[in-house]
């Protein structure tokens, strides 16, 4: 597993391309949609390039400014971050195509600069190896997401955006205080150097607690999830997809990176706490999803529940659990974005998203309902989907480490997910008493929803590929020496 630098610095282009695209869209608002889509397609090139680089040459380090850590800021690309970039590119492409038809010009001129900015920041976050640089990217991410939510206008979206903004700022400040403590304890901001210098001391535990708390707030782990349903449900459909599929995963990725690469082993109790909160998220989120009368809120609470699964890896210490959780991140991103786009189509079609008034949507929007159903298969965790592979890996990890409680949680979660998915599908077949006026949904919106759902399915069929990429330089690979067989 060597660290090498090859000729083309794909890493920096994954950040610069969407950034430049965003600036162009801002400069030429009348052609924003066209430029935005061109940018979306072009970003695939450096992302693929970087993925190939990491797969064949191992971990990539890029010293921005030429100084090298700890004096300068390093970009650090291993299997995990490349996988995150690929996930963002795939979902981003689908959402970009959808958004080209969704927004009318007045909103589109702001959507595209904001969305491309957000994409650039996501890439910057996944690649950054410096804890203060990560703070700046976290703040950027929050601001971009809030602005996108508020784009919908109306009281719900604006108050949802405001709550989200307050929560986001609070999380970032807690994170920054942790950075302050770490810097003054060890004199460096580079993750790798900090990992080497790390030793257990009160300032470190405090920093760990602060940064974890801030990131848990941003990842909406139960019981800090209160801001997510209003924000994700009231945002425009493509924005809901961006938020649920990508933005919440970024703070989770950061949490993973910090716990595995930076901080010392905190012992069983904090891990168990995260696992218990994750279980709470799964059960509470799914139950709340069942109670919802509006589709977008149902899908948003489903996100709360699904995010809980990610935290089950913390008490299950072995590397198989981390593989499961990263796989979960990927499949949820594809499935949930497909689900939100499908719901967006339904909303566009009938002007409302009340579940009990879905008037025979199956017949009138067959593509959309297929997309919803396939995405639902992945969310529930039925074969052959990415969600199934992820849950299977998780169950395997739980069995082999002898922690049976989590098995029950995973199975209950799947059952509850089945309940709320089938509830929607059931109503989609029935005739409603109240009729609404409808308008035709643009074809591209239906096809992108279906495309993302099929990608979630495909993820279940090609499991070895992502799993291999994940293990390149994976932060949990070093755990193998310490774990029990």
């Amino acid at each position: 597993m060597g660290i090498s630098t090859v000729s083309i610095p794909w890493a920096i282009w994954t950040i610069l391309l969407p950034l430049a695209g965003s600036l162009l869209c801002f400069l030429l608002p009348r052609r924003a949609a066209l430029l935005g889509q061109a940018a979306a397609f072009s970003i695939v090139v450096p992302v693929a390039g970087l993925g190939w680089q990491v797969a064949t040459h191992g971990i990539q380090r890029y010293a921005v400014g030429g100084w090298g850590a700890p004096l300068g800021i390093d970009l650090y690309a291993d299997g995990l971050s490349s996988l995150m970039l690929i996930m963002t590119a795939l979902v981003g492409l689908g959402i970009s195509l959808y958004a080209s038809a969704y927004f009318e010009r007045r909103k589109a001129q702001f959507f595209w600069p904001l969305w491309l900015f957000l994409w650039a920041v996501l890439n910057a976050l996944f690649l950054s190896g410096d804890i203060f640089n990560l703070y700046v990217t976290l703040e950027l991410l929050g601001l971009a997401a809030v602005a996108l939510v508020a784009l919908a206008g109306g009281a719900d979206a604006l108050t949802g955006a405001m709550r989200y903004l307050l929560v986001s700022l609070l999380g970032s400040l807690c994170y920054l205080l942790g950075v302050a403590l770490l810097y003054h304890a060890f004199g460096t901001l580079d993750i790798i150097s900090l990992g080497r210098l790390m030793m257990p001391m009160p300032a470190v535990w405090t920093a760990m607690g602060l940064m974890t708390a801030g990131l848990l707030l941003k990842t909406a782990l139960f019981p800090l999830h209160f801001w997510l349903p209003p924000a994700h449900a009231s945002a425009p459909a493509p924005v809901s997809a961006i938020l649920s599929a990508l933005v919440v995963k970024a703070s989770f990725y950061l949490l993973l990176r910090l716990w595995l690469d930076l901080f010392p082993e905190p012992g069983a109790a904090p891990r168990l706490l995260l696992g218990v909160l994750g279980a709470g998220a799964i059960l509470w989120g799914s139950l709340q999803a069942l109670r919802q009368k509006r589709l977008k809120l149902l899908v948003a609470y489903s996100t709360v529940a699904q995010l809980g699964y990610l935290f089950l890896a913390f008490p299950l210490l072995i590397s198989a659990a981390w593989n499961a959780v990263v796989y979960f991140v990927l499949s949820h991103a594809l499935a949930k974005s497909a689900m939100f786009l499908a719901v967006g189509n339904i909303l566009y079609f009938g002007g409302h998203d009340r579940i009990d008034e879905l008037d025979r949507i199956v017949q009138r929007l067959p593509l959309t309902m297929t997309a919803f159903a396939i995405a639902g298969i992945s969310i529930i965790g039925l074969p052959p989907s990415g969600g199934f592979v992820a849950k299977w890996l998780l169950l395997e990890a739980a069995f082999s480490s002898g922690q049976w409680g989590w098995v029950l949680v995973v199975i209950s979660g799947s059952l509850l997910a089945a309940a709320y998915v089938f509830k929607v599908i059931g109503f989609a077949f029935t005739q409603a008493k109240v009729l609404h006026e409808t308008r035709a949904v643009p074809t591209i919106m239906e096809w992108t929803a279906l495309g993302l759902a099929l990608a979630a399915l495909a993820l279940g069929l090609m499991a070895p590929l992502p799993l291999e990429l994940m293990d390149i330089g994976a932060p949990w690979v070093t755990l193998i020496g310490e774990e029990l067989p």
């Binding site: 602005a147 719900d156 003054h184 919802q292």
Partner: protein, 103 residues
């Protein structure tokens, strides 16, 4: 205890005071002010602990970090205040309505 440790402790005090106000105050502008106070607290901790000792210059890296942090705080505050203006124009209120309207 050097004077600079005192600055850092004051920063902690500001952070906690701001956090309390953020949770307790209902008016949105007060919440934004509370966040700004928390931010100032964190900046104080950063710069305070990096002060000059008897034979060295002050540490430039925390100062650069705080400069960046101040700009980020300004940007966020501007967005927050504009959002509050819009919320008031739409709903006539300056606090966050309860969740009950969502169900």
């Amino acid at each position: 205890m050097t004077p600079f440790t005192l600055y850092a402790l004051t920063g902690i005090g500001l952070f906690v005071l701001g956090l309390y106000s953020l949770i307790v105050q209902a008016h949105l502008i007060r919440k934004v002010i509370a966040l700004n106070i928390m931010g100032s607290g964190v900046f104080l901790v950063l710069v305070g602990l990096g002060g000059p000792t008897s034979n060295t210059m002050p540490d430039p890296v925390p100062q650069a970090m705080v400069l960046t942090g101040i700009v980020v705080a300004i940007a966020a505050t501007a967005l927050a205040l504009t959002l509050i203006l819009r919320i008031q124009a739409e709903t006539g209120r300056t606090d966050l309505a309860e969740h009950s309207s969502q169900h």
